[in-house]
């Protein structure tokens, strides 16, 4: 810490000699903003949330949500990790469809260029699909 202070003092004179002679306080503003922002973000968000939100807890409200039915058993139950793989695969191919939409809308203007670029994109995804298939990620057992 003392070394830092020492350097800050020393560099002050450097900048004074440098072109434009930047003023010391302004020069270090970003460093302070840097620290201030880092400290402020969690404090401010938590404080605002606390101040703004209505605070009225009651038994039914605090119950875990389970499609409107009274929960049965613990929410901490285990379920098979296969759901996780399926979910990831879903996300990948879901995003693929999202990319297809803007191309479909603009297909007439983009002509052959758009078509070929899209086919390249699909070809890369198909390689991924073959890979998933061969690795057995699509088999449920």
């Amino acid at each position: 810490m003392r070394l830092t202070a020492l350097y800050l003092f020393a560099s002050f004179s450097d900048f004074q000699q440098g072109r434009g002679s930047v003023q010391m306080p302004e020069n270090y503003v970003p460093a302070f903003i840097f620290i201030a922002v880092a400290l402020a973000i969690p404090v401010v968000t938590l404080a605002i949330a606390k101040a703004v939100r209505p605070d009225n807890p009651f038994g039914t409200k605090l119950m875990p949500y389970e499609c409107g039915v009274d929960p049965e058993g613990s929410a901490r139950g285990r379920y098979t990790v296969r759901f996780y793989i399926v979910a990831i695969l879903f996300v990948v191919f879901d995003v693929e469809t999202i990319f297809l939409f803007p191309w479909a809308v603009q297909a007439r203007t983009l002509k052959a260029f758009g078509f070929i670029e899209m086919m390249v994109f699909l070809a890369i995804l198909i390689v991924g699909y073959i890979w998933i298939w061969k690795k057995g990620a699509l088999e449920w057992v």
Partner: protein, 510 residues
Amino acid sequence: MPGFHRGDYLLALPMMLLTLFALGVLLIDLLLDRSSKVINAWAAFAGLAFSAAAVHNIQRAFADQAARGEPSSPFFAFSGTLMVDRFAVFFFYLFLAAAAITILMSVRYLEVEDEHHGEYYALILFSVVGMMCMAAGNDLILLFIGLELMAVSTYILVGFLRRDRRSNEAALKYLLLGAFSSGIFAYGLSLLYGLAGSTNLQQISMALGNAMAPGKARVVPAVALVTTAAGLFFKIAAVPFHQWAPDAYEGAPTSITGFMSVAGKASAWALLLRIFLFALGPMRPLYVPILVFVAIATMTGGNLAALTQSNVKRLFAYSSIAHVGYIMLGLIAGTAFLPNPDGIRGILVYLLVYTFMNLGVFGVIASLRRRDIIGDELDDLNGLFFKAPTEAVLMLTFLLSLAGIPPLAGFYGKYFIFLALIESGHYALATLAVIYVAVSAYYYLRVANAMFMRTAGDRVPVTISPGMWAGLAITGAATVVIGIYPEPFLRMVNWSMHVAQNPTVAQLLR
């Protein structure tokens, strides 16, 4: 106007070839049985060679430009999103070399770990594609996609030893902190876009030049700067944001630790230089103080933490953090408005020599891995000189080079950076850095002490595969040759410094 332009594809060819080969490796791997997985390594190697040829093609275009007597100007592709200049070509070669050496060192290591899969090589190639986008991006979107492609590939590679708890833990920590830092970085980029109304680096630079005119409020530019910088500091593992590095480096497969610490770091630096010199160029008076604070913290934290480590991979993780601190000094050097060209030259030289010496170190550590020994504790290096003298001497070369002892390559990186600091009058900072270099000699020599002056715990000979020998020979030769005869390498760095039309950089090079 969208459409096919031949030039676009010529400039993107290095990346396209790597992608093609990576996909090829994924498919070939499905057909190979366990004993012939080494074919994947050859295929990946071929991909790197083809890509290097494509980069050489771009390099020739620059030579033609010079032969016609034109001033060096970058080539743009895909409506200006990709900008290949000499700076980018330098980094392309660096990434390809690092990946090639990593592959040489990996084959045997993966066989010992019993995790020899084609995905490993495919992911290395994909991460190199990401790194190339980071070095040649001229658009925030492309830079960010490149960063994520590199990072996601590395997350998986860190966790590649699926049955090893440490590897899994490292991957999870790295993923969470990496995602967090990418979020902060993206937030900074969004503010830059908000200020400039464009994702193009030149446009942003111009907009920031206006925003920095005297008498204007600088709060939003300052917040944009701070968040962008914080995201970048995470990626290069500078001190307030370095916590992921020791864990990730320790848990990752050793070959990947080497790859991350050189190629990953060099690509993050390429991105940082692109953003700080090009887009944020006009904000230099604001970012230099931040860099000074972070550089001092990084040198202090890295060097002092490395002193007490007993795990070699962790020790070199902290050592690589300390090196980031020195490299950062190269960007600080200069006046309040312009960086010192020697400083930037120093950064490039530093990254070049660091690639070879650090890969060499991790190669030696990886070669110590046997069925029953992980080989990453300091005690595992005991008496290495008596078991494998050549390897121990090579390791000593790398260690001395990392410490910056003159006849070796590491000296030149530090030389240019300290020279630039002194030229621009940062005497206090230069003194501090030199003191820390002396401190670093202690922990490097501690490793040497274990190798040469202690007796080995066992008599099992160290077996080194031909690939590993090739890797160690290349890194060792580079470390010695750059140190003794640096001229061609300095010429290469000077060549790549003829960067761009950006006002800041153009002024810098005049």
